[in-house]
């Protein structure tokens, strides 16, 4: 849950998605600016934190990068409990991973925090020639489910910072005292169904 400090706050962000879709790679790209051709598979989950400045606040993201294998599913609630945001990642070259992403969306809708900011990331968009998941299909799905959608590449860095910053911008500023009068927060997801598509 987002907690507020002096115009700065912490927010827990969880990455979910099938194994090998690039969750760890996205975090590594965002936090350290690196990419590894062979990224070790994650067991349980890995933790990172990164502070970013958005227009009106400083957000410290506490990022949980979870393990993707199906059977690790039963551990996931421990990581998404209390999360203010989630990035659900699939691999545009594997349809199966997109189906898995939809399951995560359902699960979060059912069990997560109703105010959770949820992003759908179609990763590995540098692999255009191997694409199996059409952009439009994912975008339509995202709109129907009030997610914001971007195609990303941890390899080329396309849209990686963008997706994390967009999440930070959309996070509800928890405390009314900090909130500029008249700002409406509840319609954030529905109002802005911006989609950003990978350009490779």
């Amino acid at each position: 849950m987002a907690t507020i400090g002096n115009n700065s706050f912490n927010a827990k962000l969880v990455l979910l998605g099938d194994m090998g879709t690039g969750k760890s790679s996205l975090v590594l790209r965002f936090v350290k600016g690196q990419f590894l051709e062979f990224q070790e598979s994650t067991i349980g989950a890995a933790f990172f934190s990164q502070t970013l400045a958005v227009s009106d606040a400083t957000v410290k993201l506490e990022i949980w990068d979870t393990a993707g294998q199906e059977r690790y599913h039963s551990l996931a609630p421990m990581y998404y409990r209390g999360a203010a945001a989630a990035i659900i990642v699939y691999d545009i070259s594997r349809m199966e991973s997109f189906e898995r992403a939809k399951k995560w969306v359902q699960e979060l809708q059912k069990q997560g925090n109703p105010d959770m900011v949820t992003a759908l990331a179609g990763n590995k968009c540098d692999l255009e020639d191997k694409r199996m998941v059409p952009t439009e299909e994912a975008q339509t799905y995202a709109e129907e489910n009030r997610l914001f959608f971007m195609e990303t590449s941890a390899k080329t860095a396309t849209n990686v910072n963008d997706i994390f910053y967009e999440i930070a911008r959309r996070l509800p500023r928890a405390q009314p005292a900090q909130q500029p009068a008249g700002m409406v927060l509840s319609d954030r997801a529905a109002a802005r169904s911006q989609a950003s598509v990978c350009c490779s």
């Binding site: 598979s41 067991i43 933790f47 690790y72 359902q106």
Partner: protein, 406 residues
């Protein structure tokens, strides 16, 4: 089978990697190697890259190098002790302490004496030279193997060659992602070995199939055991006899049970730490899950991990609790000062990644925690099982209804 890494016997019979991890003799610390000497811990800023005993690249500092050099000295001392024992008790004396067919009283007594000696010795570390044999013996892997035809492993690999299953697909996906910085594991040869072990096991037990985490465990087993077949049997005995059931199957229920037991133990043994972390809403499973699933292979340096495994194979799965509790205890003061989850994780990660001195960790693990018998742990597990099953069940039902509702 490990290419250049197979040249490991030195003149005194002590197994040592050719590519050793000391940098120059000027840097190494010529301290007399008393086994109990404690190793000074000071911060050093000069960072160096070197290879440890099992060929892993380490990013450390000069102090780490010194610690590793001392550890190497201690290992050499232990090797002497083992050699002397072999001289007086006969080669493979430890094999007897596990057999159970001997009925003569005097033999029983010597068996008991051997078992006690063995337990003490194993906690001090099994020298790499005899590690494969001792592991096979004390874990029961040898016995397990003796119940099937000699050709079992070869037959299994031959029968499964070329077969494609969900498990093999996942294994293939993880092969290049398993300790990719290790030279042998990064080679086609190493990955082929690892593949055969994991694929073979996935067919032996289709309930386990392949579970992420086993790739790290099997990789380290291969580096120690030297032959694929021995590594395979160690993996089998580990999953089938040493660890609690269902750690790696289906929904990891065994792992959930272990985590609950661990939480209870932490609260009992280190109530201050447990209360502090609870107040921060920090669930220790957030970090401990990986420890238990990879048996510390991803967190501790290689020789330290293997020292934990020495005891694990000889004394059983309760060892994991000892070690996990020890890690928290060693950093008690720092943990009590931590105010944020990120700090807690940082403290635990730094401690584990830099725990080059196995004795420091194992001393806390076995001397500071108080007794925890396998029996008490078994009772604890029994107590937790229904709650875990209920929780997993309930979650599954909620997910199923969510599917039906769209």
């Amino acid at each position: 089978m490990f290419g250049s890494q197979t040249q490991r016997e030195t003149s005194n019979g002590f197994a040592l990697r050719r590519r050793a991890y000391w940098i120059t003799s000027a840097i190494s610390n010529p301290r007399p190697n008393t086994i109990t000497s404690s190793i000074p811990k000071k911060k050093s800023t000069l960072s160096v890259k070197f290879e440890d005993m099992y060929g892993f690249t380490v990013d450390g500092n000069i102090d780490d190098v010194n610690v590793l050099n001392e550890v190497r000295d201690k290992v050499r001392e232990q090797a002497k002790v083992w050699l002397e024992l072999e001289a007086s008790k006969g080669t493979n004396w430890y094999l007897q302490s596990n057999g159970d067919r001997i009925n003569v009283v005097s033999l029983k007594l010597s068996k008991l004496a051997n078992a006690i000696t063995l337990k003490r010795l194993v906690r001090k570390g099994i020298p790499p030279m005899v590690r494969p044999n001792v592991w096979l013996s004390v874990s029961g892997a040898e016995k397990k193997r003796s119940t099937v035809p000699d050709s079992y492993y070869d037959d299994l690999t031959r029968a499964t060659e070329g077969k494609v299953t969900p498990a093999t697909r996942q294994i293939d996906h993880d092969l290049p992602r398993t300790f990719p910085s290790h030279p042998w594991l990064d080679s086609p040869e190493g990955q082929a070995s690892l593949r055969r072990v994991l694929v073979g096991y996935s067919f032996r037990d289709s309930d386990v199939g392949y579970c992420q985490g086993l790739n790290y465990v099997a990789a380290l087993l291969l580096l120690v055991m030297k032959t694929e077949e021995d590594a395979f049997w160690m993996l089998a005995v580990l999953l089938e006899n040493v660890l609690v059931n269902d750690c790696y199957t289906d929904n990891l229920s065994g792992c959930h049970v272990e985590q609950r037991v661990f939480k209870d133990l932490l609260a009992k043994k280190w109530p201050r730490i447990a209360a502090h972390l609870e107040a921060m809403e920090f669930d220790v499973s957030l970090v401990a899950t990986e420890w238990f699933l990879c048996l510390f292979a991803k967190s501790l340096p290689s020789e330290t991990t293997l020292r934990v495994w020495d005891v694990l194979f000889n004394e059983g799965a309760k060892v994991l609790f000892h070690v996990a509790l020890a890690i928290f205890k060693m950093k008690e003061e720092d943990l009590l000062r931590a105010r944020q989850i990120g700090e807690v994780i940082g403290i635990l990660q730094t401690t584990t990644h830099h725990q080059y001195d196995p004795d420091e960790l194992l001393t806390v693990a076995f001397e500071k925690i108080g007794s925890m018998t396998t029996n008490t742990i078994t009772k604890e597990r029994k107590k937790q099982e229904p709650a875990v099953m209920a929780e997993l069940d309930q979650r599954q039902r909620r997910l199923d209804t969510s599917k039906m509702n769209g």
